[in-house]
C-alpha cells in the first residue's frame, strides 16, 4: 500500500495549493486527481486575483481575501522559482466598470458599506469617474454608457492554467506526488491513519484533505462532514490575440499576457451541466461591447463553461471532522485568489492539525439553524 503523511483528494486549485504548501513545509504529500471527464473548475476559470466587492456581511472573508492578495506576490515569485513555470502574475490593480450614473453611485455605496464592515482597515478601493478612467486607460475607447469604474489596487491577474501546472510541478519538485485518474471512492479510518481507496488501489495517510470540488460532498460525508454545496455554472468567451490595449484586468473583462481578451462570466443554476449556450454568448458579448464597442470587430475563438463550487452564502468552507480528526474538507469558488492563502496559512493550519480562530467563521456549522439563531 502506498502511503504518505497527507493525502489530498483533488488536484484542482484548492487541493494543489494546500498540497504545495504542505510539501514546502516538508510533508510527504500524495495528491489524488480525478478522471479526465470530471468537472474541473480549475481548468475553466477566469484568472483574476480579486479583492474588490467581495465579502459583504462576512468580514472574515474580506480579511481572508485581502490577506491572500497580499501574500500573492511572494507566493507567485517562489512558485515560479520552485516549479520553473512562469504564471504571468500581475498586481497593478483592477477595475469594475459602471454603466450609467445610477450604477456608478450604487457601486460607490456598496464598496463604502463593505469598508465600513471592516473596522480599522485602510480603504483599498476608489471610484474613478469617466474622466479619471480615460486618463488611466488612454488606449481604450469606452462605450457611451460607461460612467466610470471602481479601482482597487489589491486586484491582479494570473494565467490560471499555468498556475495549476506550476503548483503540480512544484509539488513534485518538493518530493510530493500527483497521481492522475485516481478517482477516490472510499475514505475510512483504519488502525493506523486513514485508508483512501480508488476502484483498484488503496492508499494510506495520517491525514486526509478533501478538496474535490463538486465531488466533495459525497466524500466528506464518509468522514462525518456534511458540507452544503451546489454547482453554479459560469460561461466564458475568449477572443483572438490582439495587441495590448487593456493594461488592467476588470471584473468580467481582461486581456491576457498572450493578448487574448477574456469575457466572463455567467452565473447559472443548472446543476451538473457544463455545457455552453448561444444565449449566454450573446449576453456576454453584449456586456463587453457596452464597455469596449471596438471589440465588435474581434474574433471569438472559444466559449466554455465551468462549475463554481458554491456554498449557501457563497463563502468558503474549511472544516476538520470531529468524528474523524485529521480529515478536512475544503471548498470555495475563488481558488485562484485564495491560492496564496491556501498554500501558506491553510496548509500550515492543516499541518498543525488545528484550524486557527481566524478560519473558524468558515466552518459549515454556520449554516445550521441553531447557530444562526444564536447569532
Amino acid at each position: 500500500m502506498q502511503s504518505a503523511e497527507v493525502i489530498i483528494v483533488g488536484a484542482g486549485m484548492v487541493g494543489s495549493a494546500v498540497a504545495y504548501g504542505l510539501a514546502r513545509a516538508g510533508r510527504r504529500v500524495l495528491v489524488l486527481d480525478g478522471g479526465d471527464g470530471d468537472f474541473r473548475a480549475a481548468r475553466a476559470n477566469f484568472g483574476l486575483v480579486w479583492v474588490q466587492g467581495k465579502g459583504a456581511d462576512m468580514p472574515a472573508y474580506q480579511v481572508l481575501t485581502r490577506d491572500s492578495s497580499d501574500l500573492w506576490p511572494q507566493f507567485a515569485g517562489e512558485l515560479a522559482e520552485v516549479a520553473g513555470v512562469p504564471v504571468d502574475y500581475e498586481r497593478k490593480g483592477g477595475l469594475a466598470f459602471c454603466l450609467g450614473d445610477r450604477d456608478f453611485e450604487a457601486r460607490g455605496l456598496a464598496l463604502h458599506r463593505l469598508h465600513n464592515q471592516l473596522s480599522a482597515a485602510e480603504q483599498d478601493c476608489e471610484m474613478l469617474d469617466r474622466v479619471a478612467l480615460e486618463k488611466r486607460l488612454p488606449r481604450v475607447e469606452f462605450g457611451n454608457n460607461v460612467s466610470g469604474a471602481s479601482y482597487c489596487w489589491r486586484d491582479g491577474q494570473v494565467n490560471p492554467l499555468r498556475l495549476l501546472q506550476a503548483m503540480h510541478a512544484g509539488i513534485e519538485r518538493l518530493g510530493g506526488r500527483v497521481l492522475a485518474a485516481c478517482e477516490v471512492s472510499q475514505i475510512e479510518r483504519g488502525e493506523q491513519g486513514f485508508r483512501v481507496a480508488t476502484a483498484n488501489q488503496v492508499f494510506g495517510a495520517d491525514k486526509v484533505v478533501i478538496a474535490a470540488g463538486v465531488a466533495t460532498k459525497g466524500l466528506a460525508l464518509q468522514v462525518g462532514l456534511d458540507v452544503p454545496l451546489r454547482p453554479q455554472r459560469g460561461q466564458v468567451l475568449v477572443t483572438e490575440r490582439m495587441a495590448p490595449f487593456l493594461p488592467l484586468p476588470a471584473s468580467g473583462l481582461r486581456q491576457t499576457a498572450e493578448g487574448t481578451v477574456m469575457i466572463g462570466a455567467t452565473k447559472e443554476e443548472v446543476g451538473l451541466d457544463a455545457g455552453t449556450t448561444m444565449s449566454s454568448a450573446a449576453y456576454l458579448a453584449d456586456k463587453a461591447l457596452q464597455v469596449v464597442p471596438r471589440l465588435a470587430g474581434a474574433r471569438l475563438v472559444r466559449q466554455w463553461s465551468g462549475l463554481r463550487v458554491m456554498t449557501p452564502d457563497s463563502f468558503p468552507v474549511y472544516a476538520q471532522s470531529q468524528s474523524h480528526p485529521g480529515a478536512f474538507a475544503l471548498l470555495c469558488h475563488s481558488g485562484v485568489t485564495l491560492a496564496a492563502c491556501h498554500a501558506e496559512r491553510l496548509a500550515e493550519a492543516i499541518d498543525r492539525g488545528v484550524l486557527p480562530a481566524n478560519l473558524e467563521p468558515f466552518h459549515h456549522q454556520r449554516f445550521s439553524r441553531d447557530v444562526r439563531q444564536a447569532i
Binding site: E240, R241, M242, A243, F245, E258, G259, R294, L295, A296, G297, A298, R299, V301
Partner: protein
C-alpha cells in the same frame, strides 16, 4: 468546395496583395491565390512571429488569416476573391479593431 483556378470559362479578376496586383480566377478562394503568390505565406504568428501559410483550406486551422479590405483575421480560405480586393499579410498580433 474546390474551385479550379484559371478555368478557361472563368473570368480573371485583379486582387491587390501587399500593394501588388495579382490575377485570380473569379470565384476562387483567396487562400489559394495567396498559396501561389511569392513569398507564399499569409501571416506571422502572434507569439513567435513565425510564418504561416494556408493549411487546411476548410476553415479549421486559422493559418490563412490575412487583412482583407481593412478587416483583420479573415479566414482567406472561406472568402472568394472579388475584383479590386485589397489584401495584406497579417503580422503578429492584430490591433484592436477600429
Amino acid at each position: 468546395m474546390f474551385v479550379r483556378p484559371f478555368d478557361s470559362q472563368q473570368k480573371a479578376v485583379p486582387v491587390v496583395i501587399d500593394g501588388e496586383t495579382v490575377m485570380a480566377a473569379e470565384g476562387e478562394m483567396l487562400a489559394s491565390v495567396l498559396l501561389r503568390t511569392v513569398p507564399f505565406y499569409t501571416r506571422t504568428t502572434p507569439v513567435s512571429e513565425s510564418r504561416r501559410a494556408p493549411y487546411c483550406l476548410m476553415g479549421v486551422c486559422f493559418d490563412c488569416l490575412a487583412v482583407v479590405d481593412g478587416v483583420a483575421s479573415v479566414q482567406t480560405c472561406l472568402v472568394p476573391v472579388r475584383a479590386g480586393m485589397r489584401v495584406e499579410r497579417q503580422h503578429g498580433r492584430r490591433e484592436v479593431p477600429l
